[in-house]
């Protein structure tokens, strides 16, 4: 029981800190930290979504940034056309439509690429998800109409009923509530019958097949849910940065996301949030000292892989779990 309460304690601590601190920064005139917190919370949603397949499904998916990018472009492209004309079918500032588009497109991309990638396993799966992620990257890179390499600026943020995304606090609160909802959804899924099958397939696929489970289908559904959730995070990220570029889809972004999950502790609900927090804060602190901050960061990453099992959550829970 002690273990459970400690996990619960950390969860509450992290979530309360994220609820209370950023608005305080804002009121004390430190808008910069508010921005940081917004980015952190949005990336945490993406990390939570990745953890569904990585931590609980055991699927080392290395193309997750593609879903975020698709979601961001799903916010940016309709807005672009609403401003500059063309492509009447999707030209709108309507946020609900954009969210539906972001979630729909990401889910569809996850369905198609997942259907192929999940036929393979192990290192093939890693490389294929990576390649599909990079395919989306090159797709947007070569679409000159949406800025190509130079990216796309969102002139008008999404319009949502009752929420003004131009107000930093509103945007933050939306992101925060979304994160909580994402965590609750994942908590439900993981503990449901579907989640048990997913985790069983991670631990012993052969056994699950012998029991009569078509694990390919279960994994594919998890992959689609995860991709859709990341697409939603992308919608938020696009509205936050108001600038979208193919760089958001680059495979190194996927690597960072993966690292957040592992750093915080895979196969836990709050781990990815903790991981994203530590990751973003460290990045911020290190980069304020030197432009070569990636050097110590990379060394730390190697250190974590070599020495810390189970991520920070494993560390807090203590050994011998």
């Amino acid at each position: 029981m002690g273990k459970l309460t400690r996990t619960g304690f950390i969860t509450v601590l992290v979530m309360v800190a994220l609820a209370v601190l950023p608005p305080m920064f804002l009121w004390s005139g430190q808008a910069f930290y508010m921005d940081l917190a917004t980015r952190l919370v949005i990336l945490a949603i993406a990390a939570v979504s990745l953890n569904l397949i990585l931590g609980f499904g055991g699927l080392v998916s290395f193309g997750h940034a593609a879903f975020i990018g698709l979601g961001a472009y799903a916010a940016g492209i309709p807005s672009y056309h609403a401003t500059w004309g063309g492509f009447e079918a999707i030209a709108t500032y309507n946020g609900l439509f954009q969210i539906a588009l972001a979630v729909g497109i990401s889910a569809l991309y996850a369905l198609v690429t997942g259907a192929i990638a999940l036929r393979t396993k192990g290192v093939y799966f890693i490389m294929i998800t990576m390649a599909f992620g990079q395919m989306a990257y090159y797709f947007f890179l070569s679409l000159d109409i949406y800025g190509g390499d130079d990216g796309l600026t969102i002139d008008v943020r999404s319009e949502l009923p009752g929420i003004n995304l131009d107000n930093p606090l509103s945007l933050y609160l939306l992101a925060y509530v979304s994160l909580v909802v994402a965590m609750v959804i994942k908590f439900l899924i993981v503990n449901s019958r579907f989640g048990m099958v997913l985790q069983g397939a991670k631990g012993n696929p052969e056994r699950m097949v012998t029991l009569g489970y078509n694990i390919y289908l279960y994994r594919l559904v998890a992959y689609v849910i995860s991709g859709a959730m990341a697409g939603y995070a992308g919608f938020l990220l696009g509205n936050f940065t108001t600038f979208i570029s193919p760089d958001m889809l680059d495979w190194t972004r996927s690597g960072e996301l993966m690292f957040m999950v592992i750093l915080g502790g895979a196969a836990t609900i709050v781990g990815p949030v903790l991981g994203a927090s530590v990751f973003i804060l460290l990045e911020e602190i290190l980069s304020s000292y030197t432009i070569f901050w990636q050097l110590p960061f990379g060394l730390m990453l190697i250190g974590v892989v070599l020495f810390i099992r189970g991520g920070l959550m494993g560390f807090f829970k203590g050994k011998g779990d």
Binding site: F132, Y138, D144, L306
Partner: protein, 307 residues
């Protein structure tokens, strides 16, 4: 259709394919034998390019610089094996991926520290900097022919090494049976380090060869590594023959797609639409090829027998 242009583009495609093969062969060797996924392989390609560039300026001779840069890149590979990779072999693929992702940050930032943020253009000696007219209208830069010749030479050397030498026998045995090889009294640790260094040299060579055409830059490793993955997925991970065939195939498809897809599209749609669609589709072509191959053969075209 302009056949001379087609011929020139085919040569360009073969040249790209051979460079891809140099990078892919090292990666597939390391994976096949060590079961180790090395994301940082692209960064070694970059390091090789920078070392080659520096030495070219220092020595004033490109070819000599390449000859000296090769063993240095091999040493870098050896050091990476010693310090990082070796400690990861026993862990799972996820750890390989994350650990070598960290290594990428370290290598790229180190390159930034040493060589600065800008790319370095590498000058060629005069006799390589010209062009050759192979036949009426087909003008090819001399240097591209050198790349093709080098690529083919290295490929031949690798096939000989893997298939006909004692080292090659050990490499093939190590892939299928690690304990067996060590039971024979062969120092498996040294074998692994040697293979790793060899892979680094091959990637470094590719980096050195490409840098007079593009330039040595920090981002170059991140770009090529994914294409290399596509090559070895299509070819079958761990297969040298597969890597070769897939590399040439992908080099050709990528080059020809970029060159001719627009014209092809104009046959079926209006010019505007074709000019928008063609770059996007040609950028995705190799991935579509990969998906198609996997849909039919999830293990790639030439899966190695053991494994």
């Amino acid at each position: 259709m302009d056949y001379t242009l087609l011929f020139v583009q085919v040569l360009n495609g073969v040249q790209l394919g051979l460079l891809l093969f140099l990078v892919a062969s090292g990666l597939t060797l390391v994976f096949g034998i060590l079961d180790f996924v090395n994301l940082a392989h692209g960064s070694i390609y970059m390091v090789g390019a920078f070392i080659g560039a520096s030495l070219t300026f220092y020595l004033g001779n490109f070819l000599l610089a390449v000859l000296i840069a090769l063993p240095i890149t091999g040493l870098v590979g050896y050091a990476i094996e010693r310090l990082v990779a070796r400690n990861l072999y026993d862990k799972d693929h996820l750890d390989h991926v994350l650990g070598t992702f960290g290594l990428i940050l370290v290598l790229n930032t180190s390159a930034h520290l040493i060589w600065g943020p800008e790319g370095i253009a590498v000058p060629l000696p005069a006799w390589l900097d010209g062009q050759v007219e192979l036949f009426e209208g087909a003008v090819i830069p001399t240097y591209r022919l050198l790349i093709i010749a080098t690529g083919l030479g290295v490929a031949a050397g690798l096939f000989w090494l893997v298939n006909y030498t004692r080292l090659g026998m050990l490499i093939r045995a190590g892939a299928s049976n690690r304990t067996m090889v060590s039971a024979l009294g062969i120092d498996i640790q040294s074998l692994f380090a040697l293979v790793f260094a060899l892979g680094a040299m091959l990637a470094g060579l590719a980096g050195m060869l490409i840098s007079p055409i593009t330039e040595a830059s920090i981002g170059m490793g991140g770009q090529i590594i994914i294409t290399t993955f596509v090559v070895i997925i299509v070819g079958g991970i761990g297969s040298m023959k597969g890597a070769f065939i897939a590399a040439i195939l992908i080099g050709l498809i990528d080059t020809l797609g970029r060159a001719f897809l627009g014209d092809l599209f104009e046959l079926v749609m209006n010019a505007d639409a074709a000019q928008t669609a063609a770059p996007a589709v040609s950028a995705m072509m190799i991935y579509i090829l990969m998906a198609a191959v996997l849909a039919v053969r999830p293990q790639g075209l030439f899966p190695p027998k053991v494994r």
